[in-house]
């Protein structure tokens, strides 16, 4: 994959929605929303993330794999055998269409970790190590996603064609995010399309991360290897680090990657000032700089976030139990013509939509996370 650039400078369209009661809807809705933003992409990348799609295998890590050639598949499967029990594997179902060409081998695996793979006791750390190992070491193999009861479907093409190709109308999810890509210097590579994912984190991103160089080096300190040849992946890893590893409330994590300006901090009351001063001093290298708007997906919901000056568009809407976030108003109104409320989130201000019922509590770790999220909700 040496021919790919390390950073993906792109302008894009993004959309995401969550049903906070966990009600599922089929994937044609997100495709419809993305179609209105066709002009924001150039056909060099489209993709979707879906949560709640594998309820019958919710206890397995669902690995969506992209393989350049059969050898990479053989090698990866041999590697899986050493670390995991493969409960089931199959080709990811596709439907040929005229607009999607040269797909890689698309395969999905439902995995459980062998007890000996969990060094030190944290199952999710073991999964992170497996993902990093495959992406960095196995030539031609790429992990599109590897979380529980979720999946990423992405490729080279316009998002509506990619969605059609992956037969998303046949899946039902309570959270969907989508992305149409307009890369300016990157070649057509299926792995390079959004969303980027780690565990159950997914990121769809419009923009450019000018702080990439230091964000990447900062994450390396915590064992994350940036292997996707794009700046977007640092956001997925930062959220994994801040929320899963450092156990920070999601709103605080958002205020780390999108820090308050110093003059805002100076106007806060003393307790708040000390919190945000400490965050900026300690997490200086986690500040994400440059123009961006993102929708971050997670088992428990979605977060929309724009950069501190809002140099990329982001709009939000709420209709009953559903929160919508998109680059453009049109994308939301196409699937929800009369939302109760539509608003422009301020620069750097996170928009958070979370599941209300604790239906996704598989592990002790996620229970703990829920407590933090609820803490946020209670505010």
């Amino acid at each position: 994959m040496g021919q790919f650039y390390e950073k993906d400078i792109s302008g894009c369209g993004i959309v995401g929605f969550v049903n906070e009661n966990g009600k599922v809807v089929p994937g044609d809705r997100i495709i419809t929303a993305m179609t209105t933003m066709h002009e924001r992409g150039n056909g060099l990348g489209g993709g979707f993330a879906a949560y709640g799609i594998y309820p019958e295998r919710a206890d397995c890590y669902a690995f969506h794999m992209l393989y350049d050639h059969p050898e990479s598949k053989t090698k990866t499967e041999a590697y899986f055998e050493t670390k995991c029990i493969i409960e089931m594997d199959e080709p990811i179902p596709t439907r040929q269409n005229a607009f999607v060409s040269n797909p890689p081998i698309l395969w999905r695996y439902f995995l459980k970790l062998k007890p000996e793979s969990i060094q030190g006791g944290d199952e999710e750390d073991a999964i992170v190590r497996i993902v990093m190992e495959i992406n960095a070491r196995i030539e031609g193999a790429f992990v599109a996603s590897g979380g529980k009861n979720m999946g990423v479907f992405k490729g080279v093409g316009f998002p509506e064609d990619i969605g059609e190709y992956y037969r998303l109308d046949e899946y039902e999810a309570y959270t969907w995010t989508g992305h149409g890509r307009f890369p300016t210097n990157s070649q057509g590579w299926w792995g390079g399309a959004h969303p980027f994912s780690l565990l159950d984190w997914t990121v769809v991103h419009n923009g450019e991360i000018s702080s990439y160089g230091i964000n990447k080096r900062y994450l390396e300190h915590f064992g994350y290897q940036c292997t996707c040849y794009t700046d977007t992946e640092v956001l997925a890893y930062l959220f994994d680090l801040l929320i899963r590893k450092h156990q920070l409330p999601i709103e605080i994590a958002a205020k780390i990657v999108c820090a308050h300006f110093w003059d805002e901090i100076e106007r806060m009351d003393e307790q708040q000032r000390e919190i945000y001063r400490t965050l900026r001093a300690v997490y200086a290298s986690a500040l994400v700089n440059g123009p961006f708007a993102v929708v971050i997906g997670h088992t428990h919901g979605i977060v929309g976030l724009s950069d501190r000056m809002k140099l990329r568009p982001l709009i939000a809407a709420r209709d009953g139990e559903t929160l919508y976030i998109a680059s453009e108003d049109s994308a939301i109104r196409e699937i929800c013509p009369q939302p109760e409320k539509v608003w422009m989130p301020r620069a750097g201000e996170p928009v958070i939509g979370l599941l209300k019922s604790p239906q996704q509590q598989e592990t002790a770790a996620s229970l703990q996370r829920m407590a933090l999220f609820q803490l946020q909700n209670s505010k």
Binding site: N185, E220, H221, Y283, G290, R308
Partner: protein
């Protein structure tokens, strides 16, 4: 005395059409280059004494004086250059060590000049610092790896307490220059300028005059091997303490203050007799290894721990050891760092360029997972704001400037600081000379310099599409190298110009 073979370095050209024999030059030159001849009512030049400080030419009311390099040259020889021959003449006449002032002036490769910065185009709007916020504030000190919150009824509360930090509004500090090497007025200008700008100045190893105690909040007190002027009050009044291990201009040896500069006031501040040479020992005699340093750090930590080393070949593991010994900030001083007095051979041949030292230290600390435990201040020959931006992109938290600060105050880099005859009133203790430096004007010039450089740093950040200095720090993606070998690029951790992201 026998005839000196050492030729005049400069020529003094006096335009008789312009000269009004006002004798300003006579009074201004501490080196007695201009002598009034009463018989002929004219001024004659003693070129042999001229150091090229341009004081006379600057103050001459009729612009009658021109100082030029002596064009008279030795026969061209690539090995036995004029500099080499003159140095030998000098030593053959004096029998001593060659002394000099200021930083290394040899033509060594400047890596700053071989690095170029990035700017945004189209996909990433550049940010205009005149219209948008642009943040340079920096916290220097040890940071925890993460912060923790605890639940408190309604909300949450921070349980992590940040250790003391030096907060600066621009990533530039004034480097160590002792009271002794520079004058009272020069120290006062540095202290007041640091206070105005919101940064720090460093006492060097000369102690602290009681008059400067009110600027303690902006003072870094140095503890060097000579322990001159070190006492409880001195350590207490400063915001931070720096243990000086080495100096970029003279790694491996201690400080030199010639007795000519040890006046009554200096003697009191340093706690040494008037007129004695203040020669610091090469090592601290209570630090013979890292475990001793650890003890000293914790002994001094009642205020705050803080240390300084010179950039030498194995600078990276030393910095790592210093952080593990408990330092909150590590200052690294490069080969081009200045001095008031140093043996020429050591100044010009010992050490490595600061660019390489920053890159090596930053990488090593990250590899060891301890980069957050200390901040890095880099010193040693920062000439302009672009050098600073490049140093921060390589991984420094902030930089120390000293030569540039002296130049802002009027220094003309004649490199004769060690003589105590600074005609600009900066590197001297002669009351006739020191009163030439108006501390208010010097302060204004220092503040102007930092203000100008800060604006330029903001412009460059904005061009990169970045609006906070922390997103530049260690962000080597914004640097590209020209005219370097692959090995040099690898050490700096940067790509070649022309390579994309």
């Amino acid at each position: 005395m026998s005839l000196s073979l050492y030729p005049s370095e400069f020529r003094i050209e006096r335009d008789p059409e312009r000269c009004i024999v006002c004798q300003v030059c006579v009074r201004q030159c501490a080196n007695d280059c201009h002598v009034y001849d009463e018989d002929d009512d004219c001024i004659v030049s003693n070129e042999r004494n001229c150091v090229g400080c341009h004081r006379c030419a600057t103050l001459c009311p009729t612009n009658a004086i021109t100082i030029t390099q002596n064009p008279s040259d030795f026969k061209t020889n690539a090995n036995w250059t004029a500099r080499v021959i003159k140095d030998i003449y000098k030593q053959a006449e004096s029998g001593g060590v060659l002394l000099t002032g200021m930083g290394c002036d040899r033509q060594l490769p400047s890596y700053f000049d071989r690095m170029l910065l990035n700017a945004s185009q189209v996909t990433n709007p550049s940010i205009d610092p005149l219209r948008e916020p642009m943040e340079l504030r920096t916290h220097l000190g040890s940071k925890p790896e993460r912060v923790d919150f605890k639940r408190t009824g309604e909300g949450f509360d921070l349980t992590t307490e940040l250790s003391p930090q030096l907060v600066i509004d621009t990533p530039i500090l004034f480097s160590a220059m002792s009271y002794g090497s520079i004058s009272y007025n020069a120290c006062l200008a540095l202290a007041t300028a640091a206070q105005t700008v919101g940064t720090f100045y460093n006492t060097g190893e000369g102690g602290l005059h009681k008059d400067f105690y009110p600027y303690g909040e902006n003072t870094i007190a140095q503890v060097a091997s000579g322990r001159f002027g070190v006492h409880a009050e001195y350590l207490d009044v400063a915001a931070a303490i720096e243990i000086k291990i080495g100096q970029g201009a003279k790694p491996g040896i201690g400080g030199h203050l010639p007795g000519e500069k040890v006046s009554e006031e200096i003697s009191q501040t340093r706690m040494i007799p008037v007129g004695t040479d203040a020669i610091s020992p090469a090592p601290h005699h209570d630090i013979y290894s890292i475990e001793d340093l650890r003890q000293l750090i914790f002994a001094l930590k009642e205020a705050t721990g803080y240390r300084k080393i010179a950039a030498v070949h194995n600078v990276a593991p030393i910095a790592s050891g210093i952080i593990r010994a408990g330092a909150d900030i590590v200052a690294i001083d490069g080969l081009r760092g200045g001095t008031g007095a140093a043996p020429t051979m050591i100044r010009d041949h010992v050490g490595i360029p600061i660019e390489l030292a920053i890159a090596a230290v930053d990488r090593r600390l990250r590899e060891e997972g301890i980069r957050h435990r200390a901040s890095i201040i880099a010193g040693g020959g920062f000439r302009n704001s672009a050098d600073i931006v490049k140093a921060i992109a390589l991984g420094a938290d902030a930089v120390y400037i000293a030569t540039a600060a002296l130049v802002a105050m009027g220094c003309h880099l004649c490199q004769k600081c060690y003589t105590g005859k600074c005609n600009w009133g900066i590197a001297t203790q002669d009351p006739y000379l020191t009163k030439r430096l108006n501390p208010n004007i010097a302060q204004r010039r220092l503040v102007n310099l930092l203000h100008g450089w800060s604006l330029e740093i903001k412009e460059m950040l904005g061009g990169m599409g970045i609006n906070a200095i922390e997103s530049l720090r260690g962000n080597r993606e914004h640097l590209r190298g020209v005219g370097m070998t692959q090995n040099e690029l690898d050490i700096l951790g940067i790509k070649s110009a022309g390579e994309a992201w």
